[in-house]
Symmetry: C2
């Protein structure tokens, strides 16, 4: 199989570096460092359709990053795009909000098990910051318990002390616990009695550079009880997991009920909207907060979100992506084993994490991913991957064929002792 | 002239209140309180075109809010929409960013006088928060000088101490000065020597509930010098003023050079993008910061922004909106005078603030605005208004006719002593 080359991507990157800090930022920027070796990856895309995208050099990829999550139904889903375009034609960002705002809120309330209301914004981080503010307004308390390695966006309070641009005050109300450590939560609650506004976490632990970890049995029930007993708001950041575990919410998947849930990514198949859903007891606190943005009531993303949620419910996108992910990851593990590699898969199949465990340095894993990418199977290193419902049997078969070839090449370079 | 009624808007609001905190939020929500009396205003829009929008009851409005700024070229501008749709067709939010990212950054660098680079995000608040973080990363300092009454978004650091959801830590690094008070800035710099990372302000003062105030002669030159002498980054929040004062940036309009400039609103005629532009000396600091979002590299808003900036430059949208605003506001003042009202206009004509000054309670002003709105001329109270380039001579003539009738009605209710 011929391997891809990226001359146009490199030319464009040189141009970009002149007028954009870092050349390319966001998920592709140096801060995340998941594109190693960088030479194996394209830098700029040209077009996308369904489960695939094409880079500026004309290379086609089966896309297991899904734009880092938003692509759930396949790129350019006709149903979502038709709804978005119909809304755009009438007017997008206008002075009076469209009634689509209500339709979408009703749909979210009907879809998400815990939801009595919904509020829409733009970034996932708008949602997590609003959840934090609601919890503070409702409790009159300042502190937040967060899980180490959790990602809740890029607002200063979500970042690590000492990182560039972050002050100590930004994170001074954060308390941190290890994932799955109930006793640590109990300790913090007892040490800071009456001061903790919120426990915020993702439904399961999916940090970078480390295996994902599901909640241990009884974890969420225990956390729910600690929150109830101490007047603490339980906020779930479902930005990444939302609609890939359970259409009714990832709290529902794990058998508990959150007070606030944050959504983004899969909610609108790539159109620009995020959401907070909440329980009635927090509705007044939510409306007491000054929280708005220039584009927040725009019609097109609301129409897209409404159409996307409806279609996801109809086809049960969470079940479909889990099933596709299961087939793919089981095949990858088998392919690895055939070449003597121990490929470890963790998390949930629709957004699995993987690593070759034979090598603590992660270098073998990076080599293998590079060989896959250069053959059109787009993985990244050290970050969870994503499944969309447009991935076909043929895509999976081709992906496994490429994975097998990539394993063989890496094995050729590193013969088994 | 018959006055508008809003039965469908009210029905929809009742539905909205069940599933959305506050019923409607954002600029229309209770937090901003500029819609007084609320009965005079529609709550939900149906469609928009050029300078007009239609509400769900079929009432047409000449729109002087312009979606609170984004509408600069008229709703559904064919040139911007065509560029946006062409990008959408190829793929919007995908795994690899489109080369449009570079084109748009180059266009911004070419357009904005101070810009050596550009960075795109989603909200105006994403841009102001990033500017703050860049200044902190570049200087290694924590504190920010802000102008009282200035609006920089809804992130906790931008809000007032004691507001719902805001902790003392959120605003503990903020220092506040009155607008146009150079001595106050000097005092703070001397009291907190070596601790101030940034001076951030809008190009002129445009608070709510108060007349706008332009910089006094020498103000910006003095602030620029204080910043230079003390290693402080000068960041201008051009989110609201950007492209309505000067296509080269509002710092350029007032004859100085900012280190960082934040744009949003008019930048893409309603498509969802914001920007920070900066000088070369701050490029490394910008790229050192972890700052990203799920939708930030989406193609459609970048294409729309590129097309919008190109068209704004071609027609000089800043000059055109200033000229339309001048004609309208001069006519409004004359109409007021004819009925014995002292209508005071402040700020810049393309985004003027107005109030009837005969009455300290603001009630006369609210009555007059209500009569205008119920006749299809959409103003709001106590917030600056906005001009777009699609407003025609006929729109202005009709607006002045309505304003005259509204003045007559208010005068009828409140005969001159």
């Amino acid at each position: 199989m011929n391997t891809y080359r990226y001359p146009k991507s490199r030319e464009l990157f040189a141009r970009a570096a002149k007028v954009i800090p870092g050349g390319v930022y966001g998920h592709l920027g140096p801060a995340e460092s998941c594109f190693i070796p960088v030479e194996a990856f394209p830098m700029f895309g040209d077009r996308a359709e369904g489960a695939h995208f094409w880079d500026v050099d004309g290379n086609r990829f089966i896309d297991y990053m899904c734009a880092y999550g938003p692509n759930i139904l396949g790129y350019n889903d006709p149903e979502v795009d038709a709804a978005a375009l119909a809304a755009l034609k009438k007017g997008n960002c206008t002075t009076s909000p469209p009634s689509l705002l209500i339709d979408f809120a009703e749909e979210m309330v009907d879809t998400v098990a815990m939801a009595d209301w919904a509020f829409f914004a733009k970034n996932g981080g708008d949602a997590t910051s609003f959840a934090l503010m609601i919890a503070r307004a409702a409790t009159g308390r300042d502190k937040a318990i967060l899980v180490k390695g959790g990602y809740h966006g890029v607002a200063p309070w979500t970042q690590k002390k000492g990182q560039p641009g972050i002050t100590n005050a930004d994170v001074s109300n954060n308390l941190y616990v290890d994932w799955n450590d109930i006793a640590a939560v109990e300790r913090l609650v007892s040490e800071h009695r009456g001061q903790i506004a919120v426990f915020m976490a993702t439904p399961y632990s999916h940090p970078v550079f480390t295996d994902s970890e599901l909640p241990k049995p009884g974890y969420w029930a225990a956390i729910r009880k600690i929150c109830d007993d101490n007047g603490i708001v339980l906020a779930i950041d479902d930005v990444r997991c939302g609609f890939r575990l359970d259409m009714a919410g990832s709290d529902h998947y794990f058998g508990f009920k959150a007070d606030l849930m944050c959504f983004c990514k899969a909610i609108a198949n790539g159109y620009n909207v995020s959401a907070v859903c909440g329980i009635d007891a927090l509705k007044d606190a939510a409306s007491s907060i000054m929280y708005t943005g220039s584009y927040w009531l725009s019609a097109m993303p609301l129409a897209a979100g409404l159409a996307c949620v409806r279609k996801m419910r109809r086809i049960d996108a969470a079940r479909v992506t889990q099933s596709i992910g299961k087939e793919l990851t089981e095949g990858l593990v088998v392919a690895g084993k055939a070449h003597g590699f121990d490929l470890r898969v963790s998390g949930v199949p629709s957004m699995w994490y993987m690593r070759i465990a034979d090598d603590d340095s992660l270098l073998l894993h990076q080599e293998w991913v590079a060989e896959c990418v250069m053959r059109g199977v787009y993985f990244t290193n050290h970050h969870n991957l994503f499944i969309n419902t447009a991935i076909s049997k043929e895509d999976i078969a081709l992906s496994l064929e490429v994975a097998d070839e990539a394993f063989a090449i890496v094995r050729g370079r590193h013969p088994k002792a």
